[in-house]
Assembly symmetry: C2
Homo-oligomer: 207 residues x 2
DNA sequence: GCATATACTGTCCAAATGGACAGTATTACC
DNA sequence: GGTAATACTGTCCATTTGGACAGTATATGC
């Protein structure tokens, strides 16, 4: 009962394709025309069935107001804007988007989780994380808040600049360590503020 | 002349917000209502101006058929599905999407260019490109077709499996080389088929 | 057998909608 | 001073559109 018939699925897909292609939502008569129905009532009837089954929503009376309710798909595909910083300023706070250099749209599939208000991105400068295969120019996506686990890469505030370090535990004490033989520092982590844990890396290569 | 007036910008933004929120494209009267115009002609007039300036497109006569022409913005934000392969089969061809394991939505901003039909993704297995900081499990986005330039990473078909190699030129001859000291092979590139040039790297880290 | 869902054709209508036209006022530009 | 673009109000109209209703036919489940 809840599953769609072939015809209903075809009509749902048709609407999805049209909207995805940037074209206006089809009218009942356009749907009928596309499927070769002589009467637009057939299309209206299928639309009613799809609404009843929760697949579509309609603004009653409004022309071309069909909306796909398949939020699962819609949300997976939707690009969410997350703020991208060159460097995180000291007061990490509320109006992050306004302080941000720009925003990058990221999809759940490309970073593996659903971005929240605590998700942000950082453009990496310097090669301090080359040992972890994170390079100058890469964009790292971070989450603010969670406790880092040993081995994870974090952004920490050092000298009013955010820097990427690996979170390690030694003799039961937490430290931050740069993954580059040139800077073999080991800093006690409670001396600085951890701004976020790296969750994904995006790299664009030269054309 | 080409730049928008404040009012025109406001109307353009209103349309964008409504559509982005998943609501049906506003009608002329709804636009007028939202901005407090007593006459819907005012809205129609602005819409006409926006069309003239190339910001909007309309399907003449169709209700709610406004489409934002700001392809720059629209496309930058839109997630485009590109096929993701575990490994590319020998006959690289037509129905790539059907052969693909799955599709990943990618935005232009996250990979730096607009995906075409020749864009595809590959899940990296093995550590043959660790020297280029591309790790096991990473997803690489490739373009099929263009001549690789020296130093670029390419996917090549070796033993019916696609493998990542660096494209190098030595004594005027093109070779493919693995970026891992364990496999220091140098293969003449004309002996195998290059399937694509790596344009971006996506890496998801453990939570 | 009967109710129900599907899958249509066909018709009528009121509301929604876009388009055209007439008119007013302001500002900018030449 | 004149032309053009902007920024509206107001009206009329043909078309588009969704909704309701009547009717036919088939398959499914109770």
């Amino acid at each position: 009962m809840r599953s769609l018939t072939d015809q209903q699925q075809a009509i749902r897909d048709f609407i999805e394709r049209e909207v995805a292609a940037g074209r206006p939502c089809p009218s009942q008569r356009e749907i009928a025309g596309h499927f070769g129905f002589a009467s637009k009532t057939a299309a209206a009837c299928h639309v009613r069935a799809l609404v009843k089954k929760g697949v579509l929503a309609v603004d009653a009376g409004k022309a071309r107001s069909l909306q796909l309710m398949s939020l699962a798909r819609a949300n997976r595909r939707a690009a969410v804007e997350i703020p991208l910083f060159g460097s995180i300023p000291a007061g990490f706070g509320r109006d992050r988007e306004e302080e941000a250099d720009e925003c990058i749209p990221v999809t759940i599939d490309s970073i593996g989780f659903k971005p929240t208000r605590n998700t942000f991105a950082l453009r990496v400068s310097g090669d301090s994380m080359m040992g972890k295969h994170i390079l100058d120019g890469d964009i790292v996506v971070l989450e603010h808040g969670p406790e880092p686990r040993p081995g994870q890469v974090v952004a920490a505030l050092i000298d009013r600049k955010s820097t990427l370090k690996t979170f390690v535990v030694k003799n039961g004490k937490p430290f931050l360590k740069a993954e580059n033989p040139k800077y073999p520092d080991l800093i006690p982590s409670d001396e600085l503020m951890i701004q976020g844990v790296v969750r994904a890396v995006l790299r664009r290569l030269e054309k």
